[in-house]
């Protein structure tokens, strides 16, 4: 019923500086893959060239060639449904026959891509162009080429410190302070922990970054929490009045910006979890939400 | 400021606290 086709897509910005490597999880087997893809900002034009060549018998009859730009949310527990939030089509070719490689230019300008690409445990937000070669007999030929969207945010006008006194009566009182509440992905968390009362035998203290991915709503809300790092900030037991410095660089970790209620489907939040461990392995902790953004 | 050496000002510990036995 006619041959297949080799489809290749080249984005207009395909130089190394505008490419990123993304870890994705695929299929039932949860196999991890590393994908390199072009990256665009939210208001950038997505365009380039599509090369289509018939393979096999070197002749491809079709009833039309289109390219679509799709942005969608895919939930792990809801595989049948993809929640499309952006969908645009461009016609590339009228019905005809391809006997040799043909190049098509395409462009999606002024497409608002307000959500960032995200690959999580139970949810994925993808952008891709789909080339579709329609045929009157046999199945249509489709190829999807993912691209990433990353949106930068300006520095917030107000960025308060996160400072709080917490404790357990007669046991442990601390004051923690982190220099900001909103950080960018290459930022550094500068802070301190001040001990107001210490009546337990502390073994060590660490600062964890927790990533909480929430999917679904209401009774179907599901949270997946991942510990992105455990960073030891103190070894040994302090006494009252001790002030322990914190300096935690964020760039080594695989973090994303904070996502709040993306397309009503999922959120990704981050927390600083201060954990004190005593000699009997009892853990005392205080979680504090903080916000991450992508900076230009 | 260089991020690699940035710190918050630390509160000074009193001498009594510094040398007190663990409580």
């Amino acid at each position: 019923f006619g041959s297949n086709a080799e489809i290749k897509v080249e984005f207009a910005n395909e130089d190394a500086s505008k490419q990123i490597t993304v870890k994705t999880v695929h299929g039932e087997s949860k196999k991890k893959r590393i994908q390199t893809m072009s990256v665009f900002s939210g208001n950038e034009t997505v365009g380039g060239k599509i090369y289509i060549a018939p393979s096999g018998s070197k002749r491809l009859e079709h009833t039309g060639i289109k390219v679509e730009l799709i942005g969608q949310v895919e939930l792990a527990y809801d595989r049948g449904n993809h929640y499309v939030f952006t969908s645009l089509i461009r016609e590339l070719d009228a019905p005809g026959i391809l006997t040799a490689e043909k190049t098509f230019s395409f462009e999606f300008a002024n497409v608002e891509k307000q959500y960032e690409t995200y690959n999580g445990v139970n949810v994925r937000l993808r952008y891709f162009v789909r080339v579709k070669i329609s045929r009157s007999y046999g199945s249509n030929i489709k190829k999807e080429i993912d691209f990433a969207v990353q949106n930068v945010r300006p520095d917030p006008e107000i960025n308060n410190t996160l400072k709080m006194e917490v404790g357990i009566e007669d046991c442990l009182h601390i004051e923690f302070e982190y220099d900001k509440s909103k950080y960018h992905l290459d930022d550094v968390i500068v802070g301190k922990i001040y001990f107001l009362l210490v009546r337990i035998k502390i073994k060590h203290m660490e600062l964890q970054i927790l990533k909480r991915e929430s999917t679904g709503n209401g009774p179907n809300l599901y949270n997946e929490t991942e510990i992105m790092t455990k960073f030891e900030i103190m070894d040994g037991a302090p006494v009252r009045g001790e002030c322990i410095p914190i300096r935690l660089f964020l760039s080594p970790f695989d973090l994303t910006p904070t996502f709040k209620n993306v397309h009503n489907k999922f959120s990704v939040k981050y927390y600083l979890n201060l954990v004190l461990v005593d000699e009997e392995e009892r853990r005392y902790f205080k979680q504090q939400e903080f916000f991450l953004r992508r900076k230009a | 400021a260089n991020d690699a050496t940035r710190r918050l000002n630390s509160k000074k510990q009193t001498l009594d606290d510094a040398y007190a036995a663990p409580a």
Binding site: M234, E242, I244, R247 | A4, T5, Y19, A21
Partner: protein, 463 residues
């Protein structure tokens, strides 16, 4: 313990070998990873201080190789961008800080303009290690690494521009060492509270073995050329005494006060006797204050008596200062053993004789004070075999042996009074000593009054 140490050292050697191999092949990040693994052995809680020290020394040697490699690379222009930041990615604090100190040192050696900033950062970030043993060794590593690079130049005039004085000056070095010293003393004192109370003696012994780690801070201070008498008086000694007095720990106080005496020059001590002796009066009751003050007096007496020296400056009333402060110490420490009080008087006599040899009145004033002490305590008889008796005997022999002239002893109005306090045996011994001294020195007793005086001194032999 030996088995644990062997195991740890085996890991260190293996990781160090890997580290060097990676560095030789230009794989810096891999080399640092192996260095971090090696340093992970210093996180152990299983080794005694002695064994930990062995492990620390081996690792320090290996880190020197890393430092040397990085310095060569930096100086050859192969500077790894943001290395100071990169080493801070390490998840465990002990390896992280050892690497930070090593890299910080390389940065400073290759570019003096970051010296002030990095030195301050290193001494502050070490606060994260609050475990006494691990913290002490970490800060010792910091001190050893920085021994040749602490800024030792005069402070510049005050400026509003924070970029001025990036290389640092003497005030920065003093702040650095004094902070490091305060933190180390704190950790060292805190060691006494670790572990079970039944191990107290063992812990004290271990603490003694570690004292040099704390003392090295004082040595470093004394090596700074810009520390003159003025700076010592205003910036150094107050900082040291504040920690010594406040820590209220006998072991630390006794060691630190002795260390101050040994490590700093006598010219500094002459100018700071007041605060130093004042601090002595405030020390813990278990501190051997007598030994500290005697040690200082001996040093200054020797200094004053030096043949090629200028002697004690005339404006410094050395004897009066010591006399006054010793009286204060005795008053503030009612628990001070009597023999220690007398021993202090012995030191004073020694000082008078060495530095003010013509001033017999000073010796007599000491004898008078001693008699006064006994009067106040209603002591009328002292057993010569007791520690107190022995000290009193020493006190009476000292001027005799120094002047070698019985006629001079007769001029000491308070001498007979003190002699009479001894029991018969004691008086007999001293009298014999006096007589032998006169015979050995061929002392002629010219007048009947003086004969009377001598015979009174030797009444235990005559009657």
């Amino acid at each position: 313990q030996e088995k644990l140490l062997d195991e740890a050292m085996g890991i260190v050697r293996s990781q160090s070998f890997q580290m060097k191999r990676c560095l030789d092949k230009g794989r810096l990040m891999d080399g640092l990873k192996h260095a971090s693994n090696m340093l992970g052995e210093l996180r152990t809680s299983l080794l005694s201080p002695k064994m930990y020290y062995e492990l620390y020394m081996l690792i320090s040697d290996e880190l020197r190789h890393l430092e040397s490699h990085l310095l060569d690379e930096f100086q050859a222009g192969h500077r790894v961008a943001d290395l100071y930041e990169l080493v801070q990615y390490a998840g465990n604090i002990v390896p992280r800080l050892y690497l930070l100190i090593t890299v910080g040192l390389v940065y400073i050696k290759s570019n003096e303009n970051c010296k002030r900033d990095i030195l301050k950062d290193l001494v502050e970030m070490c606060r994260g290690v609050q475990h006494p043993l691990r913290g002490l060794f970490l800060r010792n590593y910091l001190l050893q690494c920085t021994r040749h690079i602490l800024p030792d130049v005069e402070d510049p005039p005050p400026s509003n521009n924070p970029l001025d004085n990036e290389q640092g000056s003497i005030s920065d070095s003093l702040e650095f060492i004094l902070l490091n010293f305060a933190e180390m003393n704190k950790l060292w004192v805190r060691m006494q509270h670790q572990g079970h109370s039944r191990d107290k003696e063992k812990r004290e012994k271990e603490r003694q073995e570690l004292r040099i780690l704390v003392g090295t801070n004082l040595v470093r201070l004394s090596q700074l050329e810009m520390v003159d008498v003025d700076r010592y008086k205003k910036m150094v000694l107050p900082g040291l005494l504040e920690q010594a007095v406040s820590c209220r720990d006998a072991l630390s106080q006794e060691y630190l006060m002795e260390c101050i005496i040994q490590v700093f020059p006598d010219e500094f001590h002459l100018e700071t006797l007041g605060p130093f002796l004042q601090a002595c009066a405030e020390l813990h009751e278990d501190v051997n204050v007598k030994s500290i003050i005697s040690s200082l007096i001996e040093r200054l007496a020797a200094f004053g008596n030096k043949e090629d020296g200028d002697g004690i400056p005339s404006e410094i009333k050395l004897f009066e200062i010591f006399s006054q402060h010793i009286a204060t110490v005795i008053k503030s420490r009612p628990e001070l053993p009597l023999e220690d009080m007398v021993s202090l008087q012995v030191s004073l006599v020694n000082l008078a004789q060495q530095c003010y040899s013509s001033r017999l009145d000073l010796v007599d004033s000491v004898l008078a004070n001693t008699a006064h002490i006994f009067d106040n305590l209603n002591i009328t008889k002292i057993h010569s075999g007791s520690p107190l008796g022995k000290e009193l005997s020493r006190l009476l022999r000292l001027p005799t042996g120094n002047y070698n002239d019985l006629l001079v002893i007769l001029q000491l109005v308070n001498f007979p009074k003190l002699l009479q306090l001894l029991d018969y045996q004691g008086r007999k011994t001293i009298s014999t000593f006096l007589m032998n001294n006169a015979i050995d020195n061929g002392t002629i007793i010219p007048s009947p009054e003086q004969v009377d005086g001598v015979l009174s001194l030797c009444s235990s032999l005559v009657r």
